[in-house]
Amino acid sequence: MSVLKANCPSCAAPIEFQKGSTIVLICPYCRSAVARTDRGLDDLGKVAEIMDSESPLKLGLKGQYKGQRFELTGRAQLRHEMGGVWDEWYATFSNGWVGWLAEAQGRFYLTFYQPLPQGAQVPSFEHLQLGQAVNGIPNQTPLMVTEKGVATSVAADGEIPYKLEPNERSNYADLSGKNNAFGTIDYSMNPPWVFVGNQVTLEEMGLGDARPVKREAQRVSAQGMGCPNCGGPLTLTAPDKAERVTCPYCNSLLDVNQGKLKWLKALKPPPSPPEFVLPIGAEGTFMGDARFKIIGAVVRSVTVDGIKYFWHEYLLYNPMIGFRWLVHSDNHWNFVEPVNPAEVESGQIYGTGATVTYKGKKFKIFQDAPAVVEFVQGEFYWRVEQGETVRAVDFIAPPLVLSQESTKNEVNWSVGVYQTNADIEKAFGVADLPKPWSIAPNQPFTGGFYIKAGFALLGLLFLSAIFTTLIGGFGNVPLNQTITLPPTTSATTPQTIFSQPFELKGNRNVRITANAPVSNSYAEFDVDLINEQNQEIESLFIPIEYYSGTDSDGSWTEGSQTQDATLSSLPAGKYTLRVEGTWQNFQQPISVNVKVEQNVARGVNFCCAFVVLAILPILALIRKFSFESRRWSESMFGSTSGGSDDD
């Protein structure tokens, strides 16, 4: 179809179908949805005005995707059955493509119509199961069902490439795959239409300069649209996305519908007053330099073995990025982001020992229990209710926690990153947050560095030992001589004798070994190493004693006929040994074998270095074992596995 100028069948104002792919045009004057058909123009009825949004996109915005230029020519807003609306933008490409650019919670998904191969068909909406892989859709990566629901067309603007019926309800299923693959099955057609594409960033679409509409938070006045229960003024930070807001004055839960507030119920007081340590409206910096505002806070609980455990969750909002969560439990903090379910590889994900893999990292199951909303405060992008219950399963790989929350219609995965108190204090510019009193499921063990670095140093020590042994070679024996000391007059009168001269090399240790055939007696030798060049003397004392016998326990021995002493290296040169001995059987001569060795391999230096280096990593290992034991003692799936790779 081509460009068409006509008059609106409802108000007669001039309208123009500028794009050939346009099926429906929203009359800018009377907001009628005007469809062009073979027979002319049809008035499909009026559509509501687009709700205010801080979307960075707008009609007429031009971008480029995969080398093809496009222009945003139409926009529809669809309502989720569980509350909340999302935008669908229609991108008309210069080569004739039409792309569907969905914008939800700050994320963008660009998809294109994908005809199914001959004979292929997708499962019916009723038979579609969450988590089910949908075969038959031509795509690079398999797609699985992550959500199924009913969408209602609530508003539109510009030119729409399909027959948009105001307030029409249609079934849809969202699919996702690895590498940000995304798809939708639109069941409003028969057979259903399939759209496939990817989650994209504004930069990938050449829209990196697009900025959200800046405006002040919408203030609902007390007179006009204040709390319907108490009249208190309310401020909405994300009025285009808010579905529920609580009144801080009367603790009412209010429904938000296109800026109108409706009283739903009085909130039941929580079991104990929630002490949110961060106030609604506080702003913090995460993900580099992105500023997020706290717009809501929830008290949730799980019941394990009859005991209720509470924690707080803060809903963070940034118009460009969307929603994130900050979880505060036992004074531990986690910054939580959504995860593409298709990126989570899982087999059996429930029960003891279950694991899942996300981005190559293995997560171990830690908790599996129904999580209940106990209390809410602030505004929310879904129809939050007290008592709302989901099945929450946590898997950990410190410092990350991967959480699955499932209902009958939806499975959501999110990943939380452990934050220290200092991180949160810095992010929000606050001080003295209460200190944690336990080990968090995904709290990283901070001593891991000392284990890794300590063992790396020990490895280096081994390498050094091998290297120096190879370089130094094995020992040599400059002297091996047996000398005989003649009899003396008493056991305290020494006899002295000199060895033959011998050469010592430099930079080698020296071991002197004396062997004397004493038996049930002793001999003591003062040995002097005399440097013949400068007459410097290095003295050693080598006592020898050896006793043996038999008693009621059998034979015994004590001492040894051989003893040694070791010296550090001496200056290279010619040396002589002066051996001065006294011995018990002084009336008899005594033969002494004296051996001088160099480059003796001794372990004492190595052992000393090893012990010094091993102290800290061993202490860190002991601490890690205790840390992991305490961590897993809090788990429903108690495991003392200390092998988590947490640094």
């Binding site: 560095f449 000392y450 670095a453 300590g454 140093l457 280096l460 020590l461 050094s464 030992a465 290297f467 120096t468 042994t469 370089i471 130094g472 430099g506 930079n507 080698r508 240790n509 020296v510 071991r511 290095e538 003295s539 050693l540 004392f541 080598i542 006592p543 040894s560 003893q563 040694d564 002493a565 070791t566 010296l567 550090s568 290296s569 200056p571 160099q598 480059n599 001794r602 004492v604 230096n605 190595f606 000393c608 270095a609 010094v612 280096l613 800290l616």
Partner: protein, 50 residues
């Protein structure tokens, strides 16, 4: 800070061990019944001795 100090200390220990091995320095005499054992610097090298 403590991590850096630990690394510096550890590398220092390894360097000292390597130097001792290359230059024949004995940290202490392990000979039994020896009166040696107190390391001291003597002359041109680190020397354990009587």
């Amino acid at each position: 800070m403590f991590k850096t100090l630990f690394l510096i200390f550890g590398i220092g220990v390894i360097l000292l061990y390597t130097m001792a091995s290359l230059f024949g320095w004995e940290f202490a005499n392990a000979g039994s019944r020896s009166r040696l054992g107190t390391p001291f610097f003597y002359g041109g090298g680190f020397r354990g001795g009587k």
